[in-house]
């Protein structure tokens, strides 16, 4: 039904407040053939998902204005079903559990994961 240029299921939303990290993700994902949108806080990300459909969201936790967990909560409230992978540099057990409880399908620690690995994860999710 959607007649967008790129099929929505191949657009990735990167929600990350650290600009260099967001850019690196954007470049690598685009190189792999995906459409990428970048938001630097939970609030604008929420607006974005309300207006557009995405195939996947890569979500940071610690962000200004609205953090990642709050964003997940709001998505649940608004019944927006887009797979979310949490990318964080905290390794708090309670946060991991909370994120999964709020519907995140996966979780990785940025400092432990290479860009190549992240692209593989995204490809697996979106290309099936």
């Amino acid at each position: 039904m959607d007649t967008e240029n790129t099929s929505p299921s191949k657009t990735v939303l990167v929600v990350e407040d650290e600009r260099p990290l967001a850019r690196a993700l954007e470049m690598k994902l685009k190189e792999a053939g995906f459409e990428v949108d970048v938001m630097d806080n939970g609030k604008s990300a929420l607006e974005a998902v309300s207006q557009k459909t995405f195939g996947l969201i890569i979500l940071d936790i610690l962000m200004p204005k609205m953090n990642g967990l709050k964003f997940l909560e709001e998505m649940v409230k608004k019944n927006i079903e887009i797979p979310v992978i949490v990318a964080s540099n905290l390794s708090r057990e309670d946060e991991i559990k909370e994120a999964k409880r709020l519907g995140a399908v996966d979780y990785f620690i940025k400092s432990e994961t290479s860009l190549g690995d992240i692209v593989s994860i995204v490809e697996e999710r979106l290309n099936g």
Partner: protein, 543 residues
């Protein structure tokens, strides 16, 4: 002149009269104050006397006591020697009303004696009927005294008169006892922690000032149940049932019970965190009461939480720039392989490696802080240790091949599953193995042995590497330590691994030690109880 004398006399009269009036007033005042002081002292003396009575009887130091009854007159405690003393069965007496023992008191109106006992708190003598094993009966004269606290009766004590302890002895002894107990009383009263002493059925017998302050109560709670006055909650605000109360456990299991994770809600609705220790009071193998000591640790807990938050946040802040370096090095080396010279590519590798080491260090520091704060979790589950070892061997395969080591793994045939935390166990194995690989020159030999030696599981990792110099051996398990003989050879690693491994094993009920000779090699031994690692609750896992 007559006038003058008259005048003086009149003046003198006035002065005299006034002085007398003042004097009388002062005397009256003095008498009044004196009587106040006297009654104050009198009350205090009485108070101490009765408290001492309670303590004395409860601790049973006066061996002449036979029974202790509650305020209803039902027997709640019996001198365990009663069988030999009186030829009576203890089991037959619990709960029995003291009245049955006064039936035989000759020639007296027993009812009125009890009445006087209750009203005027005066003890009386009675005859107890006892029977030896051979059936021969006898009569023993005993005394019933009230147990008083804050001037009200909380129980009764029945003791023998003219026992083998000797009345003379107890008269002397009791003064010493009184002094001793007075001292103890003062000590208990001045302890900063809350102290509550109870009888064997957990009714309060004594509460010190600190206890009153912590629980925010002005009233006398004597005689009330500890479960009512010290109502505890767990972390999730769920009320603790009496049978799980630390004092109940202490009385039931006859052992000391300690915990730091209880909360109470005070009268002003504030919620505070308590560290609680409960112990039974055991005399001659019988429990005569309990003591519960508690301390407000709300501040300590807040500080701990703040520390944990800080460490988490700090490690996050450190990881972010490290991620940036890592990802951009990756982008650089990926961007068109022809654009970079071999040398440039080499430099990038070096930058990447340095960065990886820093990331490892941050992780290790995070673990160390979790260990030190005690916030890490041990979650045992049935685990096949052999499988873990095989998995780690697969992981280290590349470095083994690089150094051309020979690795052998020997395991007992029928190794059962053991209850341990697989992540922590893996970390331990990984640490020992990577050390063996690192600290052995090329073409070395490393052996792993897994066996059982009741009551433990034993893991042995030996190498024929550099060894550890004798004068450095006592520091191997300290933080950030690397022995001199390997520092220059190999700068990889954090120096925290063994510290972390040892700390984890200490908490989990295991052990680690080693044998080593410089230039010959090292063998590390790890034991874990076959019954499993001790579980440990906390808030964080080690990564």
């Amino acid at each position: 002149m007559l006038e003058y004398q008259d005048y003086i006399l009149t003046e003198f009269n006035i002065v005299l009269l006034s002085s007398i009036a003042i004097l009388i007033f002062l005397i009256v005042l003095l008498i009044f104050e004196a009587s106040k002081i006297r009654s104050k002292f009198g009350m205090e003396e009485e108070d101490i006397e009765h408290r001492l009575d309670l303590l004395r009887h409860l601790v049973g130091a006066g061996k002449a006591y036979l029974f202790i009854a509650d305020k209803e007159g039902a027997v709640v405690d019996i001198n365990p020697d009663i069988q030999s003393l009186m030829g009576l069965e203890p089991n037959q007496l619990y709960g029995k009303d003291l009245g049955i023992f006064t039936e035989d008191t000759p020639g007296s109106n027993v009812e009125s004696l009890w009445q006087v006992l209750r009203d005027k708190k005066l003890p009386f003598h009675l005859q107890l009927r006892g029977a030896w094993k051979n059936g021969e009966e006898f009569m023993e004269t005993a005394e019933i005294r009230p147990l008083l606290a804050e001037n009200s009766i909380v129980g009764f004590v029945v003791s023998r008169i003219g026992s083998t302890d000797g009345e003379g002895q107890s008269a002397e002894g009791s003064e010493e006892l009184e002094k001793a107990y007075a001292k103890e009383q003062v000590i208990v009263e001045s302890i900063g922690d809350g102290v509550i002493v109870t009888d064997a059925v957990a009714d309060i017998v004594m509460m010190n000032k600190a206890a009153r302050e912590i629980l925010d109560t002005q009233e006398s709670e004597i005689g009330k149940s500890i479960y009512e006055i010290l109502q505890l909650e767990d972390e999730n605000s769920a009320m603790l049932l009496p049978q799980y109360h630390p004092l109940a456990e202490a009385l039931e299991d006859e052992r000391r019970v300690m915990s730091r994770s209880y909360y109470i809600v005070r009268n002003d609705f504030t919620r505070i965190s308590l560290a609680v220790t409960a112990s039974p009071v055991i005399v001659d193998d019988g429990i005569v009461g309990g003591v519960i000591v508690f301390r407000d640790i709300t501040k300590e807990k807040d500080i701990d939480r703040a520390k944990t938050e800080f460490v988490s946040l700090a490690s996050h802040q450190l990881r972010t720039p490290l991620t940036t370096i890592s990802w951009y090095t990756e982008l650089l080396s990926g961007a068109g392989s022809d654009n970079l010279t071999d040398e440039q590519r080499n430099y990038l590798d070096v930058i990447y490696d340095g960065n990886q080491r820093m990331i490892g260090l941050v992780n290790a520091l995070l673990n160390v802080s979790r260990l030190e704060l005690g916030t890490f979790i041990i979650e045992p589950e049935p685990t096949k240790v052999q499988d873990l070892i095989m998995s780690v061997l697969r992981d280290v395969q590349p470095s083994v091949e690089e150094k051309q080591h020979e690795i052998a793994f020997n395991s007992e045939e029928e190794m059962p599953e053991i209850n341990l935390d697989p992540r922590l166990m893996r970390m331990i194995i990984q640490n020992l193995l990577t050390n063996a690989i690192k600290y052995t020159p090329d073409k070395g030999k490393i052996t792993i042995d897994l066996s059982r030696h009741y009551p433990d599981l034993i893991l042995k990792v030996s190498d024929n590497g550099f060894g550890i110099p004798i004068n450095q051996q006592d520091r191997i398990f300290t933080k950030l330590f690397r022995a001199d003989n390997v520092l220059s050879k190999n700068t990889e690693g954090t120096g925290l691994g063994l510290y972390i491994v040892k700390s984890v094993l200490d908490r989990a009920g295991g052990n680690i030690w080693f044998e080593s000779e410089e230039g010959k090699g090292t063998t590390f031994y790890v034991t874990i109880p076959l019954e499993g690692m001790k579980a440990k609750s906390g808030t964080k896992t080690l990564s």
